[in-house]
Symmetry: C2
Subunit: 144 residues, 2 copies
């Protein structure tokens, strides 16, 4: 099949397929007129790449899977190198999630504090809050 059909069958674009080829992830035979020619193997290979891309893998990280398939293995993750990428990705995801959760807490704390200060500067409720709050009355902005 030619590049347009392969792109359609794998839900991508011809530009993307040429880009993958330029990165060495995909290769194509050429027909007499110079057109790229692909087979079913390339469909499987691309589905593998797209799956990993959907998971957020960088293109380079899909390379072991591609090479595994090319080597004739039944699945892209049948090789140790692919499993290592899985594990590294899991570690990366865990670190990323932990980092984001830490930021989330800090931003949440900032928001809570800012809302509190806004509420104190401009009290809306009838109840008078207890003492110890005069130091925060900063809203009288100095002139410029």
């Amino acid at each position: 099949m030619r590049i347009g059909e392969l792109a359609e069958r794998t839900g991508t674009t011809t530009r993307t397929l040429r880009y993958y080829e330029s990165r060495g992830l995909l290769s194509a035979r050429r027909t007499g007129n110079g057109y790229r020619a692909y087979g079913e193997d390339d469909v499987r290979l691309l589905r593998q790449i797209r799956l990993l891309q959907d998971f957020g893998f960088e293109l380079e990280q899909t390379r072991p899977f591609v090479e595994c398939l090319r080597a004739g293995h039944p699945a892209g993750d049948s090789c140790p190198a692919s499993l290592e990428v899985y594990r590294a990705k899991l570690a990366e995801l865990d670190a990323c999630i932990a980092g984001l959760q830490a930021v989330r807490e800090q931003v949440g704390a900032q928001l809570a504090r800012a809302e509190l200060e806004a509420g104190e500067a401009e009290p809306r409720c009838e109840l008078s809050p207890g003492p110890g709050r005069a130091a925060d009355q900063l809203s009288g902005s100095p002139a410029e």
Copy 2:
């Protein structure tokens, strides 16, 4: 103070400060020779920007905080627009964390399956795992 000192005091670079100026986040008076001149207000403003940047805010998202400080408020988050950015960021963080956790689960499942298949194709342990419970025998990574 001049740009080099400001960069040093705020832990950034002169290139970054000029970039912020080009984005309209920072402005500078000029001395007779054309050098940029900054004051303490700019230090506070930059500290605000860098704090948010450390939290992963995009530069554009720091603009309300900057404008709030410029308007004379005591803190960058003293204005409603800044609080809205906080809230939007929290929602964004939550969505991002949830998405990453979902991916983490899927990648984890892929790894478990691939390890299982690798183990079946090349059985290493003496025990023959019975059907149905083999999935739990994975913790002692088979290969390597």
